[in-house]
């Protein structure tokens, strides 16, 4: 895996807005950003309404994903370039999700909306319609998705990478600091997890750090390249960002994203929880 296969720059994107076979898609939790101005020609994917089951806590099923992509006018052989706000968290989540359902050519726009806006590149409010397709998805590739039992069994023997902020990791905060802190679950982290906040993998403008910087970052945190890896955060989008860095950029082979993440783990009865920085004093 190399960077060119999975990431495109804002400059490349601006030159390829009209390129045949390339579809830009903005992914956000709050889609008012898209409605207020999006990359010209980009379709909108709503992280909540399009990708989450409306009743159960799970994804839309294979058929639902086929229906969504068909309606958005995305074909199986299109190259999909994903971008979004929040430093591409939800776009990285969608990237992982597209991979989960077997889409071949999917890339992230490096830096997402933030880099695009800081560069002063064009945004418009044109309504985007594409002809419907007949999209065909694969069964979920569970080699990249972790569930709770596997996570509990991984304590002490796989790399568990907690990508939340240090204060969420230690148990001081229960959610990112732009959100209210009233949460049902307990604070802390999964025992033996290392804390490498997602933000350390990104530059201030939202682009990913270089491969060399990323390698150094994870090595310093005690990441063991010979072990299998599970990344988690609070609900699985920030950890998608780190899953992308570890698997797609650095080429680690067995890396899973635990989308249940802390909102699931921190509510389980009886599982072990570690508090504090986790480092030996």
């Amino acid at each position: 895996m190399s960077r060119e296969n999975v990431l495109v720059s804002a400059a490349w994107s601006e030159e390829n807005l009209q390129a045949p076979g390339v579809v830009f898609a903005e992914v956000d939790e709050d889609t008012t950003a898209y409605d207020g101005g999006h990359i010209p020609g980009a379709v909108k994917i709503d992280w909540k309404n399009d990708l989450q089951d409306p009743v159960r806590r799970d994804f839309v099923d294979r058929e639902g994903f086929e229906k969504l992509l068909s309606a958005k006018g995305i074909s199986n052989d299109d190259t999909v370039v994903l971008y979004g706000g929040n430093n591409n968290w939800f776009a990285a989540y969608a990237y992982w999700y597209f991979k989960l359902y077997g889409h071949t050519n999917v890339k992230l726009l490096d830096g997402g909306r933030k880099k695009w806006e800081l560069d002063g590149r064009p945004l418009d409010k044109e309504e985007v319609t594409r002809d419907a397709t007949t999209y065909s998805a694969q069964e979920q590739d569970l080699s990249i998705r972790a569930f709770r039992d596997e996570v509990v069994d991984s304590i002490g023997n796989k790399n568990l990478v907690d990508v939340r902020s240090p204060d969420e990791f230690s148990g001081k905060l229960l959610a990112p600091a732009h959100l209210p802190q009233e949460q049902a679950q307990r604070g802390g982290h999964i025992p033996s997890a290392v804390n490498v906040p997602w933000s350390k993998a990104a530059n201030e403008d939202g682009t990913f750090k270089s491969d060399e910087e990323l390698r150094e970052l994870y090595a310093e945190a005690g990441f063991d390249g010979s072990r299998k890896t599970i990344a988690y955060c609070r609900i699985g989008e920030r950890s998608s960002h780190t899953w992308f860095a570890l698997r797609e950029l650095l080429g680690h082979e067995d890396v899973k994203n635990y989308d249940g993440s802390w909102t699931e783990y921190g509510s389980l009865i009886g599982v072990p929880i570690e508090l504090g920085s986790g480092k030996e004093a």
Binding site: D30, P54, R57, L118, D167, A177, L179, Q181, E204, E237
Partner: protein
């Protein structure tokens, strides 16, 4: 269903009797509010903690904890930062000038 980690709408007012430690204010450029600025909250060691985008009126808000914090704004017209200290729960105001 579980809500995501995206930021809620910035601006407006919240209950002053809140038990939360709130850091909020505006991003200003030559005294004029700047919407669409990227504001990040850095902890006392300079570590990234959270980021929001200002409302059209330039407002941002963080739910933090007591302690010393830095808020830093990026915008295509310029960058800037400010320090803020929160002694306890309540609303703590801070402004950031970008240039």
């Amino acid at each position: 269903m579980t809500n995501g980690c995206g930021a809620p709408a910035q601006g407006g007012t919240i209950d002053a009797s809140t038990t939360e430690t709130v850091l909020e204010g505006k991003v200003l450029s030559e005294g004029t509010p700047v919407g669409g600025a990227f504001v990040r909250l850095l902890d006392s060691t300079g570590e990234f903690t959270a980021e929001v985008v200002t409302s059209p009126e330039g407002d941002f808000r963080f739910f933090a904890a007591p302690g010393s914090w830095t808020v830093r704004a990026l915008h295509r017209t310029g960058n800037g930062q400010a320090a803020v200290s929160a002694s306890g729960p309540g609303v703590h105001a801070v402004e950031i000038a970008v240039a």
